[in-house]
């Protein structure tokens, strides 16, 4: 049986990629943030997952408003990252996967989810920054990535409860896949932040910390929020909590927290990092 070994929540903001390119990890501003990652990298090195399912949102690289899926899943052998327009260096192609990913989309449709199925998409910082964080020096080619993209930009967006349920359906699909591959799930983005409007700069560190607690033992309580609630409580881009909920939904076993970090502000965000074991 293919097994989901755990989930990792992480920020994906471009500023992190830029800081890594400029070698700023040990500077006063960044060191507390980057300190979160060596234990996670060690865990990944010990566990050697074969596949990573990555919940992210596209910020207008591949999925423009003309045809913007609510949920999209990649079923491609590789994914390219290209210029996003404001200076973050591109990274080498990401290795994809075409067996488990097709199995997942087949099973999702059977479970009444109807994602957009993508055989050729470019991936943006939402997916590439987490990979760069987990595998510095672009040493991620051995890992087969399945992108799961959630609309976090234009209303109507999928509800937190639906994103969590999507994760549960993906988790169930993975468990029914033959073989003995190990899968890790990334929930990326967040946490509280707001980029737009007169309210720009709003964060809610208490909510972030409390929600990281709940994510471990009481994730269902987080699914009771509407997206409007998240905007009010966690800022306009606080809806990126939906990717963390998707990740958490995939973990259907006994979940324990192995590692956590939280630093705010990192750029305009509360930056959470969390490693959850799924047994």
């Amino acid at each position: 049986m293919t097994k989901i070994i755990g989930g990792i929540g992480t920020s994906h903001i471009p500023a992190i990629g830029i800081a890594m390119n400029q070698g700023l990890e040990d500077t006063p501003y960044w060191k507390d943030f980057f300190a979160a990652y060596p234990p996670i990298r060690e865990w990944l090195d010990e566990q050697q997952p074969d596949i990573a399912i990555v919940f992210y949102n596209d910020h207008g690289l591949e999925m423009f408003l003309d045809k913007k899926p609510t949920f999209a899943i990649g079923c491609a052998p590789s994914y390219e990252n290209v210029d996003e327009g404001w200076g973050i260096a591109t990274i080498p192609p990401v290795t994809g996967e075409t067996e488990l990913s097709w199995h997942i989309v087949n099973e999702l449709v059977e479970q009444d989810f109807d994602p957009t199925i993508c055989q050729d998409i470019k991936v943006d910082h939402g997916l590439t920054v987490p990979l760069s964080l987990m595998y510095p020096g672009h040493n991620y080619q051995h890992l087969k990535v399945i992108p799961v993209c959630i609309n976090c930009e234009r209303y109507p967006m999928p509800k937190p409860s639906r994103c969590y349920a999507l994760g549960q359906a993906i988790g169930k699909a993975v468990e029914s896949f033959a073989g003995d591959q190990k899968v890790v799930v990334f929930g990326t983005g967040g946490l509280s932040h707001q980029l737009d409007g007169e309210r720009a700069g709003f964060m809610n560190t208490d909510f972030d910390l409390d929600s990281m607690d709940k994510l471990v033992n009481d994730p269902e309580s987080l699914t009771k929020y509407s997206n409007d609630d998240l905007v009010e409580i966690a800022g306009a881009q606080g809806v990126e909590w939906n990717m963390w909920l998707g990740m958490r939904g995939c973990l259907r076993g006994k979940v324990t927290e192995l590692h956590r970090n939280y630093v705010a502000p990192i750029s305009n965000t509360g930056a959470g990092t969390q490693l959850l074991l799924n047994e």
């Binding site: 423009f64 210029d83 996003e84 327009g85 930009e153 234009r154 737009d196 630093v263 502000p265």
Partner: protein, 120 residues
């Protein structure tokens, strides 16, 4: 539970009507993903706005770098961020512009909610 009309202060909900209003503007900013679009814009900003069919108000706000007005005219922050990138502005600069603060004041506001508050 339908709370689609609940508004949050200082936040423009990017919904269907706003996306309709801002489509051409956002499409222009989407073109800034490529260096070709950025270069062409820089050569003649007004002509580039016309090429994408921006309204006179949107065009004026682009030329004036009025980020808040562009949001009111249907701009999505995802694409306006690419416009800000063309201008060499980062998200703290844009935060300052929208909130009437200098970039340094905006950064101090961020700090006051985070490291300035939790020192654990």
């Amino acid at each position: 539970m339908t709370e689609q009309n609940k508004g949050t202060w200082g936040t423009i909900k990017f919904d269907g009507p706003m996306a309709t209003k801002g489509f051409a503007l956002n499409k222009m900013c989407y073109s800034f993903n490529g260096s070709g679009g950025r270069d062409e814009f820089r050569k003649d900003e007004a002509a580039y706005c016309d090429k994408f069919g921006l309204t006179p108000e949107q065009k004026e706000a682009v030329i004036a770098r009025d980020i808040m007005e562009l949001e009111r005219l249907g701009g999505s922050i995802y694409y306006l961020s690419k416009f800000a990138g063309v201008l060499g502005l980062n998200v703290q600069d844009v935060g300052g512009i929208q909130t009437g603060r200098t970039t340094e004041e905006f950064k101090a506001y961020l700090e006051s909610q985070g490291r300035g508050k939790h020192n654990d």
